[in-house]
């Protein structure tokens, strides 16, 4: 192996291993706290008014279900204000909204019909008229569980400077391979977000039903309308001003995940691009002691994740395509005489030929990843083999490679200044 490649590989292993070990230690340190949190039963003494904002752009298939899930929330009806925005849809979204608002005239529902202005602007428009002490954003392709809001509101009792409580996102009815992969990914993200919440380093407030303290968000100027990932930008801004973000581990929201690779590519392209832009925008927070673990650890990890993704793709190419091209070239040299080519392959196995040192580290890394995978399932009481073992194998070996490819494409697009629409 080339010396530079070897050094790069060791650095990649070192980086990934450090991150995993750190989070596993964080879990061990907070295990008791997490157990207690699961057992704790807090009763709400006061039900504050909550505005639920649902921006919709061409969501005719899901909007009715989304609104209905909000209407069924286990929370006093007079304390829920629903603001629905039709953001210049060209399909039947508007018609479906009107139908459902008409049949629920006894509920506090405000309908804004506007020209297409984008999600962030729609949220800001709604925020101007929202009366709630808290407000939640709910993407029009997501569905909230009955007790989600009440569980999230309880978090605010404990901390007056808590600005955002994020939910535990789940993929709704995963059917395709891509959706099943995302289901596994979301489970891991949920577990990680819970740990991040304990360390005050949450860096994203997901679109599906993040709950905000209105006063703080208004004070900070609302959502950034020029940002590709306004849900991440607001989290960075909240962190910058030293407000809190926590995750409510059992407040479930079900979201519709892209069902094919094309959809996934489009979504992740926007996420990655937005994330990189936000990392650059908040670069002054990097390794800044004033921001505690957020500045010293989480932001560098966010950046390192992209660098490691690029490295992973490089290694994938190096260890897959390089030998493949060499073998194709070898076959070409002998005029494609495949029979004798196969006979000439040396099938002698010598255990001493294996790079056991490197393998030991790679397997330790894989084992640590499996522990996180197991804990992620335990965190949400999900069965590991719900969709069969084959998905897990593909998830570990191909899904992250695919995501890494997307992040490399994004990086290239950013370098060459390719623009991205929301």
């Amino acid at each position: 192996m080339n010396f530079t490649v070897e050094i790069l590989l060791w650095i990649t292993y070192l980086g990934l291993l450090y991150i995993l070990v750190f989070w596993l230690l964080s879990f061990l340190d907070n295990r008791e706290h997490m157990k207690q949190e699961s057992k704790k039963r807090t009763k709400l003494t006061r039900f504050p008014l909550v505005s639920i904002i649902i921006p919709a752009h061409n969501e005719e298939n899901t909007i009715a279900g989304t609104i209905e899930s909000v209407l069924k929330l286990n929370y006093p009806r007079d304390k829920v204000e629903i603001i629905i925005i039709n953001d210049g849809s060209t399909d039947d979204t508007k018609k479906n909204i009107e139908k459902i608002t008409h049949s629920n005239r006894n509920r506090k529902i405000i309908f804004i019909d506007q020209k297409n202005q984008g999600k962030a602007k729609s949220l800001n428009n709604a925020l101007k008229i929202a009366k709630g002490e808290f407000f939640a954003c709910l993407d029009a392709d997501s569905f909230v569980e009955k007790n989600t809001l009440i569980k999230m509101i309880k978090f605010y009792n404990q901390n007056p400077h808590l600005a955002i409580v994020t939910p535990a996102m789940r993929v709704k009815d995963p059917k395709t391979l891509t959706q099943k992969f995302q289901r596994l990914e979301y489970l891991a993200s949920m577990f990680m977000a819970r740990l991040m919440g304990l360390l005050d380093v949450v860096y994203v407030a997901p679109g599906p039903f993040s709950l905000y303290r209105s006063k703080i968000i208004k004070k900070l100027g609302g959502f950034d309308i020029n940002n590709l990932t306004e849900d991440q930008e607001i989290a960075y801004r909240v962190q910058k001003h030293h407000y809190g973000i926590k995750q409510c581990y059992n407040a479930y929201v079900h979201t519709t995940a892209p069902h094919n690779i094309k959809g996934l590519y489009k979504q992740r392209n926007r996420w990655f691009k937005g994330s990189m832009i936000n990392l650059y925008k908040y670069k002054q927070l990097f390794f800044n002691k004033k921001y505690g673990d957020f500045g010293m650890l989480q932001l560098p990890i966010n950046l390192a994740t992209y660098i490691l993704s690029v490295c992973a793709i490089f290694f994938f190419g190096y260890f897959t395509f390089k030998p493949l091209f060499r073998e194709i070239h070898n076959i070409y040299l002998i005029n494609f005489d495949l029979l004798h080519y196969i006979r000439s392959i040396d099938f002698n196995f010598n255990i001493l030929g294996l790079d056991l040192g490197m393998m030991f580290i790679a397997y330790t890394l894989f084992f640590a990843a499996l522990i996180v995978f197991y804990l992620s399932h335990k965190n949400t009481d999900e069965k590991i083999r719900k969709h069969g073992i084959i998905y897990i194998i593909f998830y570990f070996f191909f899904y992250y490679t695919m995501l890494s490819v997307i992040s490399v494409i994004v990086l290239i697009q950013l370098i060459f200044g390719v623009r991205q629409k929301w």
Binding site: W10, L14, Y18, Y291
Partner: protein, 249 residues
Amino acid sequence: MVKQRKQKPTNQTKLIERKISIERYIIAGTITLLIFALGLSMGFVLDYKRITWIEEQSKAQELDYQSLQLQYLYLNTIDDTEKSCHILGNTLQTTLITLSETLEDLEKFEKDTKLNKKEYNTLLRKFTINNLKYWLFAEKSKKLCNMDAVTLLYFFSRENCPICPNQGMVLSYFKTLLGEDLLVFPIDVDLKQNEPIIQLLESIYNIQSYPTIVIEDITYSRVVEKEELGKIICNIYNSPNNHCDKYLE
């Protein structure tokens, strides 16, 4: 379990209490380094195991060579060469296969090693000498037993010859195709500074570039492609085997 260091309160840190989990950073770093140290140690232990294994192989090669010499001596003293030459040919063939496999492993190990370059170089020299001993032995045996085999010297460089693997591939192909009728002796010219015999051979065969192959005292200093090499080799046999048919048309 792990204590967290609290930041001194400033105007900006009055809202949420920022903490730096410094002890956790250190513990995580220590565990990571321990795992790395363990991995590296395994690599070093493996490296020494490899050297021991190659040395054992080398001893076995020495013994095989002595056995072959004994057979040769015996053949020189008796008349029944037909039966005994067959045994000698087979033994030589088996030994050369083992030698070539060990040499391949050795070259790979030498490439991977971080600490024991010197030891591996010594072993590579040892194997190159063995190779040349076998080459001389094969030439002698060919004459004694009238073997219809082609011997081929292949000069290559691992360090300064990116096209050498192309020649290596074509040679492996013919070795698979022709089996014991083709005896290939690879010579790593990167060892010539320490091994005067390589310099001597280069001078005898007038070798200035790599790859070079020498077949029956004729030097080819370039990549000899499949078709051409097939013709060269097959034309040397007194009774070529079936695989040579297409090269002799």
